[in-house]
């Protein structure tokens, strides 16, 4: 039936992660550092309010934009935590996870022939969403020597007059890199100079260590150019609830709401009620999770450096991205051989773009015990490779 598939779908490459997932699925007793979601369960108070909403019979559609109460609460929250000001009436749209928000942004603003500038490496869905929206992608390489921060020189190098949208995804999956104010200001100049829109995927903004997140949208003059995307999955361990959002200029939000109303109608109502509770009373639970991630982050960075590998210190998200090129293996070879010999699953850096070559992504959304065992196994694997 393949010939029924639209060409742009048939030719869309499958996710590099998927390929690896299939391989892992065939093996037993695997310790996985391959997961991109929290190991915590959603805080009880949040779960309880989801349950309560069901007991109350809150099982209908919400308005397309999402419960007003949630948008209002979000507006306060963004103003308090990230110095962002969005009107809950016209500037916030609740989506089914940040993933939908990314897709909506791409579909609402891109036309065939447009180019999207995407950090490399970065989360797997930006390029496919751009392609599905008829656009094409120019990767903006980022390097370990810059702590994987995006630099204007690289942006200028890959820029084309067809570029319309720049994706900024910091804290970054897979590298754990962050961009502080000084890093973002030159990018803002670049964006103004070339009259670009920005998709700021700030989904990991709560997970930073020794640093406070600076949102691109909060920089002078950048609010109207930015579509601020985030959600509850990572901060509040709510991946399965599917609640995200996009905030931005009312014209753009209106455009996205049109697509959203025809394709999704609204985000799940139970998740929306739970999200309200998360904003109101799960800050301490969130902070405890951040503290736990921070311990694990330090343990993994220390562990990889002890093995003799270069590992820059990630200051955000929950991934470390060590350089494994000393072993003489490519990212894919390393991940495959490690899995077969030591039953540890990590994700090859190349699953997130060509600049991920030479690196592996290890998630620390695992218990200390699992991380310690994984480090032990990776260490003996690396030792064997370095001694050849």
């Amino acid at each position: 039936m393949n010939n029924y598939l639209a060409t742009h779908v048939a030719t869309l490459p499958p996710s590099g992660i998927r390929k690896f997932f299939d391989l892992v699925a065939t093996m037993k007793d695997v310790i996985s550092l391959g997961v991109g979601e929290p190991d915590f369960v959603t805080p009880w108070t949040v779960r309880e309010s989801g349950i309560f909403s069901l007991e109350e019979g809150q099982t209908m559609y919400t308005s397309n934009a999402g419960l007003f109460e949630l948008r209002e609460e979000l507006s306060h929250h963004l103003s308090k935590t990230l110095d962002l000001s969005y009107d809950p009436h016209h500037e916030i749209l609740i989506t089914s996870g940040a993933s939908e928000a990314v897709d909506l942004v791409m579909r609402a603003v891109l036309e065939p022939g447009d180019v999207v500038l995407v950090p490399d490496p970065s989360y797997v869905s930006y390029a496919p969403c751009a392609i599905l929206a008829g656009a094409s992608v120019n990767y903006v390489p980022t390097y370990a020597k810059d702590d994987f921060r995006m630099r204007v020189q690289e942006l200028e190098r890959v820029y084309t007059p067809k570029a319309k949208l720049l994706v900024l995804s910091y804290p970054n999956n897979p590298t754990g890199a962050i961009m502080n104010r000084e890093d973002l200001l030159p990018i803002a100049d670049f964006v103004s100079k070339h009259n670009l829109l920005v998709l700021a995927d700030d989904i990991y903004s709560d997970l930073t260590y020794d640093q406070t997140h600076v949102s691109f949208a909060s920089l002078p003059g950048m609010k109207d150019r930015t579509l601020f995307v985030s959600g509850f999955s990572k901060s509040y361990a709510m991946t399965g609830w599917r609640i995200g959002y996009v905030a931005g200029h009312p014209d753009l939000i209106q455009g996205m709401t049109k697509i959203h109303q025809y394709t999704m109608l609204c985000a799940p109502i139970m998740g929306q009620f739970a999200a309200i509770e998360a904003l109101r009373s799960a800050t301490e639970a969130k902070n405890d999770m951040v503290t736990a991630y921070d311990r694990r982050r330090r343990l993994l960075v220390h562990g990889f450096r002890q093995m003799g590998l270069d590992c820059f210190e990630p200051l955000g998200a929950f991934y470390v991205f060590p350089n494994i090129s000393k072993t003489g293996l490519t990212s894919e070879e390393f991940a495959e051989q490690l899995l077969k010999e030591e039953q540890v699953a990590v994700v090859p850096g190349t699953a997130f773009g060509p600049s991920g070559e030479g690196h592996i992504r290890c998630s620390y959304a695992y218990s200390m015990e699992q991380l310690q065992e994984a480090l032990k196994r990776i260490s003996s694997f690396v030792e064997r490779r370095l001694n050849i």
Partner: protein, 165 residues
Amino acid sequence: MLSDKDRTLLKLIAQDCRLKPEELSIQTGLTVEYIEKRISDWEKEKVIVGYQPMINWDRTGDDKVSALIEVKVLPQRGYGFDKIAKRLQRYPEIKALYLMSGGYDLSVLIEGKTMQDVALFVAEKLASLEHVQSTATHFVLRRYKQDGIELMGEEETLQRLVVSP
């Protein structure tokens, strides 16, 4: 007031006091010397008052009974409740002792081998004390949660995908 770093350190120790200063150092970024000094200070200041594993005795098969006793006391002039509390806290049978607001004064947690042990202790040692007006004994039937740890049921294994973006 504790600094953020110290609070993190103390919470870590509270969660698992087996962690060695070297491990704590890796996980917090604080130096081993700082951690050792801090712990020793806290021990001296009685901020850290002991290191104990949390044991669920119900699972050991050993006989053990606990009861919470509500005690009404006549406060003594010049001492309030402290004098009698000081005396009570010396009994090894008493595992916890609190001054309460509300309908009674002291809450006493007692552990013994049998219900009779506990009843005898209450009758002979507690109720008979001068200034104690009345006692009400409530035996613990089952422990569901203690010191923040849920004791009931097996840990459910949550099925996360093995690899996800």
